[in-house]
Subunit: 476 residues, 2 copies
């Protein structure tokens, strides 16, 4: 195993070291692209299952739309084209011939899905329509970082159509709740629900909602977004329906996305200087069993007990026995700590005799995280400990977020606050004030939180009356 | 609902009609691409689950490699480049600028995965390595047909590395068995396992294996392939390992793929003139409950009984109640038959009184497929009937395959045989004889079946001594 740079020394390098040493991803031989290695991809598979289940319960069905979008489609919605044009990958040659119309590799699918929806929707009886897609998308980013910002990434994009503005707005907020529930319950990540400012919203949206999480260095990460697209795309693509009075109406659409950058959030929110710490619900391996023995006689007894423990835990719990003989137990402890397995079970010859096992929590390294449990109650003890780890990781992340959240009252205090974490501040709503903060501090307006303190104040930049607080932070 | 052309009138049109009317797919606004609509995509999700489970049980782990492959990679293996070059989609512009090296949209990933494997593999201890990927691929096909041949399609591609030729060869055959097991058990499709001839094998393979299925018009469909790639890719990409004697060796690699064309196979093997018939294991909806009532009083009693039936069957069985009021029961019967739901449950006011329900099998339309069962034993009766449908569909497809399989002894008989179905014939092994059959009849050499009758004969084309029989057929 290579060295992991301590976080206080160089947080960015720590992040890259963890990804490399835990074998989550590797750099691809294409600029800005990564390979999701099996361990990293398995985290994504667990995220997919958790999110997919929630979308299906909410009435979404999965479908699949083409990777390629005619160039002319992207140009149909004027804000959309100006937002995405600089980031497009374009196919100009197919089957050895130059294409008459170049094809864009989808950066997002509002346009091509809008085109299809226009064919499928005739009457109000066809509404609401809710479809989700799991796929790859490409955005030609200049600066990239594994998981957080890559040329190609994986995501789900859900696209819905409604008869009224109210339903579309309600859907945008309901899906935001869905994402929040996933973040809190499965990823153990506390988030702030908020509205994006005009300059930060999705290109083509009427209104964008976001969940913002705080990473281990105090920076923000936009972890999922939910957009009320108004009638912008329905007008561009003629998504219309006959209402109950037989009048033709433009529909109201929404879109919602969560991507593989959530894997980056999980690394940064929970990891420590030993490496990754995975919340049990997303961990590919929830429990690793490490046998401890010397000599042939101990070996067979201990391995047998380990296998027995594995069988007691499967299939409800994702468990493996690390029976490799070329490594010492101490080496294995380090490796599985680095890879973030939430719970380790140690079984040695004395444990076999006493019919017991030692549980060691990844989130509490050292003696305080260890306890000995009887084999008879192993399954219950493991389940209970995994639940406790899941809950404690959330509480720890929440406490960190609170400790690094500030309520500056002066512009100078704001500067200090965003150097440490999140700054809640009154904001007049103008792009100029937002822009000045960005120019001065690199911090951006992350969102206008849905939960406001109430009352009113004065804009922290210009002093004008302000009715809403915004959260400013440096962001990934 | 639109009309479905009878199969005997125009089989090709029947296929397209079923796809459109059952809402499996729609044409995309990009030449040769389709949209997988929710009902069609749900079949693919069930196929994915069934195949993924088998790969994982066989030691494969999922990962994800980039969509884009540097153009130079494709050129490294000489047969691979000549096979795939005419079919490539090429990205030449990224972020508004012309790329120095064009990027190929992956037609298959041997090259980029081979490049990564060369970084990851150092020693014999790193072997075997088994990784699978679910993704989209693009091949610039001239003539396309929904599911069977599209510019973009979805598939899994598994890529493995071994220390020896023997292990690679064994893997190619074991994964062929895995695909066969899926085809037989889940898709209810009988297949012939065989080896591809030199001219039909994968571009860059030492040896290609296939499972070939017979469609409802007697044509063959290659339903999955498994390749022993020899050392072709390991030499092109320097996939080497230190053996136990500390000698550097080139590794042996394999690859294995199954795609969304299997959805086309399911349609064509099982469908009839009423539409789709889905094998229960792959059906998105296994049971549809249709209430039959007149007037308010009957309505509430019948709907309550339908809901009760649904609750009895869920969650083990994928069941829905069709409570729509704008359609008659007869209209619903037709629609769900068209969409291939394996089992319909009818509940009317008399059934409520008698505490019973009527089961109607999709594969046996008319009175002989109906029976009345008591509500108390509904779940068992439904499970038993679904199993019977699954088994009967396989047997019916097998009988059809046998009825359309011929053993011609003369070239003239061969011509007649391939006009009807599969022709088993002795073949000398030469590309010339294979080529002549193709030129004369459009039938191709589908495979040299692994199960040979034994003995020997004379090539059906040239009369030279032949030690193996091949299966010739027109194919999709």
């Amino acid at each position: 195993m290579g060295r992991i740079t301590p976080r206080h020394e160089d947080y960015s390098q720590w992040y890259l070291d963890v990804i490399r040493e835990a074998q989550l991803a590797d750099y691809a031989p294409v600029r800005g692209c990564i390979v999701f290695r099996p361990y990293g991809y398995a985290i994504w598979e667990n995220i997919q299952a958790a999110v997919d289940r929630r979308f299906k319960a909410h009435g979404y069905r999965n479908a699949y739309f083409p990777l390629f979008i005619p160039y002319s489609f992207i140009q149909k919605e004027k804000e959309h084209v100006s937002g995405f044009s600089p980031e497009l990958a374009v196919v100009t040659i197919g089957g050895g011939e130059t294409l008459e119309e170049p094809l864009v590799v989808r950066p997002t699918s509002e346009t091509i899905i809008g085109y299809m929806y226009a064919q499928w929707i005739q009457s109000y009886r066809d509404l609401p329509l809710r479809i989700n897609q799991w796929c790859n998308v490409v955005r030609w980013e200049k600066r990239t970082r594994p998981f957080l910002r890559t040329l190609e990434f994986l995501w789900q994009e859900a696209h819905s159509v409604f008869a009224t503005y109210e339903e579309a707005e309600e859907e945008a907020l309901r899906v935001l709740d869905l994402y929040t529930d996933f973040a809190v319950e499965d990823a153990a990540i506390p988030v702030i629900q908020g509205r994006k400012s005009e300059s930060e919203k999705f290109a083509g949206a009427l209104r964008s909602y976001t969940i913002e999480a705080m990473m281990g260095d105090g920076r923000a990460l936009q972890s999922a977004t939910s957009h009320n697209l108004g009638q912008n795309f329905s007008r561009a693509f003629e998504i219309r329906y006959l209402d109950a009075q037989n009048q033709m109406q433009y529909a109201w659409t929404t879109s919602h996305g969560l991507s593989t950058r959530v894997v980056g959030a999980v690394i940064m929110v929970h990891g420590d200087d030993r490496g990754l710490i995975l919340p049990p619900r997303l961990a590919p391996i929830q429990v690793i069993i490490v046998p401890i023995w010397k000599g042939e006689e101990e070996r067979s007894r201990v391995l047998e007990a380990c296998e027995q423990a594995r069988r007691m835990l499967q299939p409800e719990i994702r468990v493996e026995v690390d029976a490799r003989e070329e490594y010492t137990p101490g080496w294995k402890f380090n490796e599985w700590e680095l890879r973030g397995v939430p719970l380790r079970i140690e079984i040695g010859p004395r444990d076999v005799t006493e019919r017991q096992a030692v549980l060691a929590r990844r989130d509490q390294p050292g003696p305080q995280g260890k306890r000995t449990v009887p084999m008879d109650g192993l399954r219950e003890a493991v389940q209970e400990t995994l639940s406790a780890i899941q809950a404690d990781l959330y509480q720890r992340a929440l406490a960190f977020q609170k400790a690094h959240t500030h309520y500056p009252e002066t512009y100078e205090q704001l500067r200090e606050a965003v150097a440490d974490g999140f700054a809640w501040a009154w904001w007049c709503g103008s792009a100029e004030c937002e822009g000045r903060i960005k120019a001065d501090t690199t911090a951006t307006n992350r969102c206008i939180p849905l939960e406001q303190p109430g009352g009113q104040g004065r804009c922290i930049v210009c002093g004008a009356p302000a009715r809403e607080m915004a959260v400013f932070a440096r962001a990934y």
